[in-house]
Amino acid sequence: MINLSFTHSRLLKHKAGPNVKLGVFEYEGDLAERWNQQDDTTYVFKLRPGVKWHAKAPLNGRELNAEDVKYTFDRFLTIKGNANAHMMSSLAKVDAVDKYTVKFTLSAPNAWFLDFLSNPMALCIVAPEAVEKFTDLKKPEAVIGTGPWILDKHEPKVRTVFVRNPDYFVKGLPYIERVEAIDFPDPAARFAAFITGQIDAGPEFPGMMLRHQDVKTAKERRQNLRMVTFPSNVMTHVGMRSDMPPFNDVRVRKALSLALDRKAIAEATVPLGWVKNPPVPAALAAWALPVEQLGEGAKYYEYDPKEARRLLKEAGHGNGFSTTLTYHNYQSQELIDAVQMALKFWKDVGVEATVVEKPYAAYFASAYVGKYEGMMMGPQFPALDPYNFIAQYLASEPKNQSHVNDPVLADLIQSSTRTLDEKKRRQIIHDIQRHAAKQVYYLRLHSGIYYAALDPALKDFGPNLGYDYGGRLMAAWWDR
């Protein structure tokens, strides 16, 4: 996904640059010059004329047309095993009206449709000839797009080199001639390379971040480093089998939440800064409701073991109970520490949770999609839109790890999906968060603060969440 952000274009893209508000993802035209919504379910896009595919066989610089866009979406909807297919579940058909006009018809209104089109994690436009010739688009020679850079070299797990596309459809862009992404597995060696100036932008995933333990040394050792801080959209939470005892009793869920000292866990694991997460991560600033404004749900974010014990007693668990907690460690000491602290806090109120640690794949095949007993804990997909997080409260969604089946939430979520007016939709999203927090279906924990570390000579670059590194680097330049 990161590589494709350099080489491919989408119909829409997220605005990027130093003036863009962090955690806010407004869209603008990428391949689409303009677009309009004809009715609740019909969108028409006018493509930029003269957009050329990269000058590589078999495309050889052919002009992009509406058929290419139609082909991409038809393929996206029909290809087997597409993990992102849900994003276009409301798309009924795509028509190439003429060479530069594409019409999208939805089966039902979907207010997130344009957000999904601009999402860098999916839906880049591909060429039919490339698919026909190479079948597997993972092959380096199949990477032929219309994006600002051309894939020059790809050595798996070693490095990927992109060179400037001289025929890019925005004249003069990009400014940076060559981008080299180095795959360097050891974090300590990566950090050493960064502070000695071998890497221009921060060494840690997601892309340009420093680990908290490295921030102080980096500031001391690499002079004039430009640091930008913002909350991460990676949110760890605890899911519970709310369809089974004892978690089907809201008092038990509230007690487990009140038993957690979230502040202590955050300060122990991300010492340089963290944020409280409502049901939509605080990092998505345009949609998250501050915890203090969650109403009744806000009080379950407080640490109150006495009230937790009272609620457990009221629910018939005066002597506590035993359960299991399934998780995968992601090779993250922070996560391991957070799990151990949570176990301790629950034990303090009489809840004994036995850890079931699973390998990565087994965890994803089970707990991550709701197949577990008792409780589960782990970071969630770092989506850039709130829908991915509120969908965790929908009975039909595999991401509904807590097995929520709440008609109030289902109605609210459906209403939000069909409300095109953004202001009104925001209100509904806030209502969803208030209701979800009150019912404590998930125990949302903190997110850490990211420290983006950049060479001061890199101008007009604004870091942000998500994988659109190519989009964010497009207008950047070196003042050297």
Binding site: I79, K80, G81, A83, D136, K138, K139, E155, P156, K157, V158, R159, I182, F184, P185, D186, A188, A189, R190, F191, A192, A193, I195, T196, Q198, I199, T217, R221, P359, Y360, A361, A362, F364, A365
Partner: protein
């Protein structure tokens, strides 16, 4: 006689390789749970489970799978990487020389450090030099390589503003740059092996130095250098040759860590990445190459040993 011995050793190596290939082939199939489902769900290597099984050749009886795999391996076809989609043989052709270079440099350091220090330690038995050498050997054996490697990379970066280059330099672009990038990881990788070599060298030389013919050499008034280097060292070195063979296996396993720390695109790092990506055909292919290399090196060591010491042939 040497030819007969060599033939016998060669015949012993064949079943070793067959057993090793069965183990390498079986290991991924012994992983609990349906590994194909896990690979599919985690990495989306195929469009559905059936395609995934077909890709891995799991839709055939196990003995057919094994014979097919061995047959293709003998023809130089180790299958295709699920992660990169490229033939594993091509990946290895790019990466194996990097690991061999790193291993070779490590072995040179192991011998260059281990043999002279072992000799000094033996000749100056129970002196300060001997204690320092023995203590250093114990330190070299007990300090984990990954820790030493990390320190060597991070500390100079913090205090001197220098760290090894993260860019792998192919020989064709800059020969000296290419060779120099192996010196530091090769030295560190060779330290633990040097410690083993040093300890064995010392013990063997001490034993040889107590032999009658050495005493005779001393009695003849020969210089210490001549007694040690000319008359004793050659005999003491014979058992050391065997431990060097064993060190090859250790050094190859060490490349997994050092290639990751120093950004070298070798076979060790390829193994590490393949395990992370659950790329089982690649894991099988790499392990088969490692096992074959170790068996071959040990075979060579045995032949060299027999050549050095004719008594071994009986």
């Amino acid at each position: 006689m040497l030819r007969r011995y060599a033939l016998k050793r060669l015949l012993v190596a064949v079943p070793s390789l067959v057993i090793a290939s069965v183990i390498v082939f079986s290991l991924s199939r012994l992983i609990p749970g349906d590994v194909v489902t896990l690979m599919m769900e985690e990495n989306q290597y195929a469009q559905d489970l059936e395609e995934m099984r077909a890709k891995l050749g799991l839709n055939r009886p196990i003995h057919v799978q094994y014979l097919g795999w061995v047959g293709r391996a003998l023809r130089g076809d180790l299958g295709q990487s699920l992660y990169s989609g490229r033939p594993i043989t091509i990946e290895l052709a790019y990466r194996l020389p990097v690991s061999l270079e790193l291993g070779g440099v490590a072995l040179v350091f192991a011998v260059l450090l281990g043999v002279p220090i072992g000799v000094i330690s033996a000749v100056r038995q129970d002196s300060v030099q001997d204690y320092v050498a023995r203590s250093s050997a114990i330190l070299g054996l007990s300090v984990p390589g990954f820790w030493l490697g990390t320190l060597v990379v991070v500390l100079p970066a913090i205090y001197l503003g220098w760290s090894p280059s993260i860019q792998y330099k192919p020989f064709g672009t800059t020969p000296w740059g290419h060779l120099s990038q192996f010196l530091l990881p090769g030295f560190l990788l060779g330290v633990a092996s040097a410690a083993s070599v040093m300890r064995l060298m010392r013990t063997q030389l001490l034993e040889v130095l107590r032999h009658d013919y050495v005493r005779t050499a001393w009695a003849k008034g020969l210089a210490e250098r001549k007694v040690v280097l000319k008359h004793s060292l050659k005999n003491a070195l014979i058992p050391v040759v065997t431990i060097i063979g064993i060190q090859v296996a250790q050094i190859l396993s060490g490349t997994v860590i050092f290639e990751s720390i120093f950004g070298l695109p070798g076979m060790g790092r390829y193994l590490f990445d393949s395990i992370t990506e659950r790329d089982y055909p690649a894991i099988q292919g790499i392990n088969l190459v490692v096992v074959t290399t170790v068996v071959t090196v040990n075979l060579i060591v045995d032949l060299v040993y027999a050549w050095l010491d004719p008594r071994i042939r009986y």
